[in-house]
Amino acid sequence: MTIAASTRAVALVLSLTTAVTCLAQGVVPAPLQPDARSVELISARQARLDRIPPVTDADLLHPADGEWVNWRRTYDGQGFSPLAQIDKSNVAALRPAWTWSMPPNSSQNAPLVHAGVMFVYGVGDRVQALDAKTGELLWEHTHIAKRTASIAGIVKRAIAISGDRLFVATTDGQMIALDIHTGKRVWATELGGKEVDISAGPMVVHGKVIEGLAGCTRIVPGGCSFVALDAETGKLLWTFHTLARAGEPGVDTWNDLPFEKRNGGSVWSTATYDPALNLIYIGAGNSYNWQDLTKGILGKNTHKSDGLYTNSTLAVDPDTGKLKWYYQHLPGETWDLDFAFERTIADIQWQGKTRHVVITTGKAGITDVLDAATGKWLFSLDQGVQNVVKAIDPRTGRKIYNQATLPDMTLQRTDLQCPAGFGAKNYPSNSFNPTSRILYIPLAENCGESIPKIFKPGEYTGQGQELRVTRYLPNSDGNIGRLDAVDMQNGKTLWSTRQRASVTGAAMATAGGLVFVGDADRWFKAYDDRTGALLWQMRLNDAITSYPISYAVDGKQYVAILAGTGGPRIPNLRALTPEINTPRGGGAVMWVFELPSKP
């Protein structure tokens, strides 16, 4: 349109508007129209989003080095970045590239990065896509939850991506699929009613969305489960119940407790996957039928009180949901010290041979290593922060319990259990460097003193004991937190960075020779992966209880971490270090770090 013509057009519009408004009762301004500049910028943004290529099955199996498309980057759960641009020689110069305020209480969420776009979940079911280089918001989807949830249902550790879809578990126990280009919802599937909490988050394999359910603290008759949904439609394909059912081995291991009174087997972490074996590995947590199982253990009829499949690694065919093998780490366990976390798949040398293994560390800081194909126990490592297992059978790996720490139902004494029920290790994951074969384990040293609560048959408690008082480890030197570097070839702890504040974040090892981890005192740190020397640190806005990631955009490496608290881990550990303060109010920030650009 020529200038003159447009002036006439504007005059016409103005005069029409004036005519209309003069007819009306008063003068009403016309709504603001976005200017041409914003229209152009927003449509350029959508064009950029439209260009995001789908995530193929091959991408999930072998992500490009700069991508982070699984919870722990790769299906094997190692949480290792092959990027080496940031290394020991230059990490001291690491600085913030951008930050983004997240919804309050976003404390555990691991972001994903694909094609230069960061996808992240915020508490309150706010899902966002951000430009991973600039921090610009590209789209946002807020799911309106039909109900609230307890803390276990509010936090979300993982989201998943496959094809054109982002898969997100919600506060109200649904799985939703969003279009990665627009954030629009494609489907939603309810996974359970009020009794279901989803903490772990999904993963996708063979077009199936696999999600574990928690919330079995409350009586969920028959316990918890994990499910597979069709990624295209959201239809439920199969359910695996984590408490053994009629006809399955192990249904008779509950000391005669009727099936409908059994509970537990919550799933707290996302599954890992081995493509060669075509197996997913997932952990089931403890039972809450403490009294019934303990009676059996104290009465020494141990196999009748194993409580299968609580405290087990379950190897399941993802296409059928059929169990291939299980290994129970802590039969009939009653301290809430479950093996509930990531099952890391790795190749290590053991007894002169290369073994393909599943590695998992439980809350007590004991690491079990199993053959990935058969579930055969190979060996265990003890980081020395526990007193509940006094010995491990060298043939079977069966753990012999310290009877003095089993809840004494006659109430004649308190027992000191190390660690306390919230564990020395928890959901913040280990990281494994597949080249050096070193496993990095974040830990907090603590104990709990309690006596058991007597309750009626079938009644339950979230923890088995009453009078829970947090205690320091006996002979503690005041250093509560540590990051242990364990050589998985010989089980030796190579170094251990001991510090006052609990190490509450997940670890991330990189090919640049670094290990990143955050703690309860707001420090995000980078260590030399071989010596444990501190090479870089920064004090962030809040404590860190989440998962670091690293990615690359346009040839430049970034490290990202969400800092914020809102789960129970920080309040639980606070008693031991009361001088450490973190902000109240749950303000959370996504931090992205970079090296200064070369001039």
Binding site: N105, I151, Q412, G421, T461, G462, E466, R468, P568, R584
Partner: protein
């Protein structure tokens, strides 16, 4: 005497001494406050502290001997302050000051205290003059 009873003995003695020095009055609350407090508790607190206040998976017991041992020598302003500053972890202080007094009233009722006509004040200075359960 069993070792457990020996454990309790010094706590009782300390409690008696502290009360004598500060001369706090017994806490009072109304049945209506405790009923409102129960509703709030079930909505906001139960997920961590349990439906019976001592059987939660993520929070410390709010009922029974360990609760009494922790607070017996302090005024009620102390737990009130802690709750407002830290609880619930996802929204500290966000429930409104009267709601915290209601929840505290419910907790008192679950720790053996009986309701009366006098409400529990939602004011730290007034609460400081009231004794925690022992």
């Amino acid at each position: 005497m069993t070792r457990f009873a020996l454990l309790l003995l010094p706590l009782c003695c300390l409690g008696a001494g502290a009360l004598a020095q500060t001369a706090r009055s017994p806490a009072t609350f109304t049945a209506e406050q405790a009923a409102r407090g129960e509703t709030i508790y079930r909505d906001q607190c139960q997920g961590c502290h349990g439906d019976k206040l001592d059987n939660g998976e993520f929070g410390v017991p709010l009922r029974g001997a360990v609760f009494a041992a922790h607070w017996h020598d302090k005024g009620l302003d102390a737990p009130f302050q802690l709750m407002i500053e830290q609880m619930p972890p996802t929204n500290p202080g966000g429930l409104g000051v009267d709601a915290y007094a209601d929840v505290l009233a419910f907790m008192l009722s679950q720790n053996g205290a009986k309701p009366s006509q006098t409400p529990l004040p939602a004011d730290p200075d007034a609460l400081a003059k009231l004794a925690a359960p022992n």
